[in-house]
Amino acid sequence: MIPSVIAVLGVAIGPTSFFALVWGAILVVVLVFIFIVRALILDAKRT
């Protein structure tokens, strides 16, 4: 069942998908960092 779900999702690991996977992961890490900094600033302003 899991393989078919993956197929439906269209995750084919060709070079382009692999590129997207690697740099997408790095991008998410950066976005989480921005979220935390923003939330900490808002917290500090609130208190």
């Binding site: 070079p15 690697v22 960092f33 900094v37 939330a39």
Partner: protein, 506 residues
Amino acid sequence: MISTAVALTAVILTILAVTAFGLFAARGRVRSVEDYISAHDSAGPGTLTATIIASMMGVWILFSPAEAGAAFGGLPAILGYAIGSAIPLLLFIPVGTRIRAIVPAGHSLTEFAYARFGTGMYLFVLVVSVFYMFIFLAAEMTGIAGALSLVTGIPRWQTALLVGGFALIYTVYGGLVASIVTDTVQTLVLLPLLAVGFGGAVFALGGAGEIHAAAIAADATLLDPTFGSGLKFGVYIAFAILGANLLNQGMWQRVYAADGDSSLRWGFGVAAIAVVPMILLAGLFGIVSTALGLTESGGASIAFFLVVESVFPDWVTLTVVVLAVLLVMSSADTMFNAIASVITADLARLLDRPTQRNLWVGSRVLTGTVGVGSIIIGSQGYSVLELFLTADLLAAALFVPFLAGLYSERLSGAGAVVSGLAGFAVGVTYFPLLRGPIGSIPGLGPLLPAPAFLSAFVGATVASTGGTILAIALWDADIDLSSVDRDIRSLDEPMADGGRNGEENK
């Protein structure tokens, strides 16, 4: 290899900076035992996200995901690891909200287990939870000592003593406050380091296209998301992580630390999103190591560091060293305080009207004892993988009946214990690591099914779930969930008088 002196200097500077910050941040903020082991309603979404990420992401992410990628099935194994790590964090959103509603003044999961189920389940949860957390801690110390020994040549004992010792100093002084504050700073340093370090690593390896081509040439199944053995590994590791994290006191402390249900949702939700790419990126090093032929003669467990050592420029290696130290310190301080808090919260109940000073001294002595034990074990270089998996199996068998107690008024303590034991019994029959002693029992050996981790972990969870459903259906314990917290009291008495007030009361 970067020189030992340069690496040691970077390690010491990192450790000193974190310790100084922890001591400074906690100064004047820990006024009671309550402050030391809990931080009720104090963390907003940013702080909570940061501390959850720092607590969960130990130095293990530089070992296990890469090993999974190299030896247990490539990309699907890594994805299973990543998604499996996110699931318990997502589950903590509804479960954490429920915990805070039922036991608003609580401190630990064992405290809840005792109040909700009684002595039997309490002892079961206590043993499994403390066992798991201590093994986690020992594995972290072993991991960082081994990693730095491999990459920089720093002797194991020096790393274990420095990292563990300094984390212990600020945790003994500042308790959970110091742990959460340093976690926040560690995450703020760790995430950019991770992004820059991994980005630099991809460039150093010739770009994503080069890595892809090398992996396909070496073994195309490494990047096949439907590869069977990788999928099996991914599923079983998800079950293993799920149970263990739901019985992790460090996470329970952070549930209570949230300053409201909204912060809890944001904190655990964003942390769940964050751990997926972190584990994925670390795991890709396992694929790279196989693609480059670095693990042909074994060594999958250190695949990440084999790549670092053989391919990267010194600045990336130094980044990894600092990253590893931050990862281990942020998890170690969480576990030091988590283990101490479980027992301190229980001491408050078990001792006859303990004074603040007794609890205060007890909690710090416990933290120190746990820390010293983990430093000693970490410096020895033991393999703790088998103990880790055994702890995971116990947790996989226990977490369903335990959590069911948050929702069902019908589930009795005996029903929960029997369900957990049933799950463990089923898990053990499949568990490869206990096949030797179990199989040697006369008459039992031939009856046992083929050993497999997937069957063991899934079987343990499914059997305990079935047992829990049966226990709820057949018996009605008639527990009033609204009064579970009647005996759970705050430990919050100011220490301005050094605890004399508590002694007078006694």
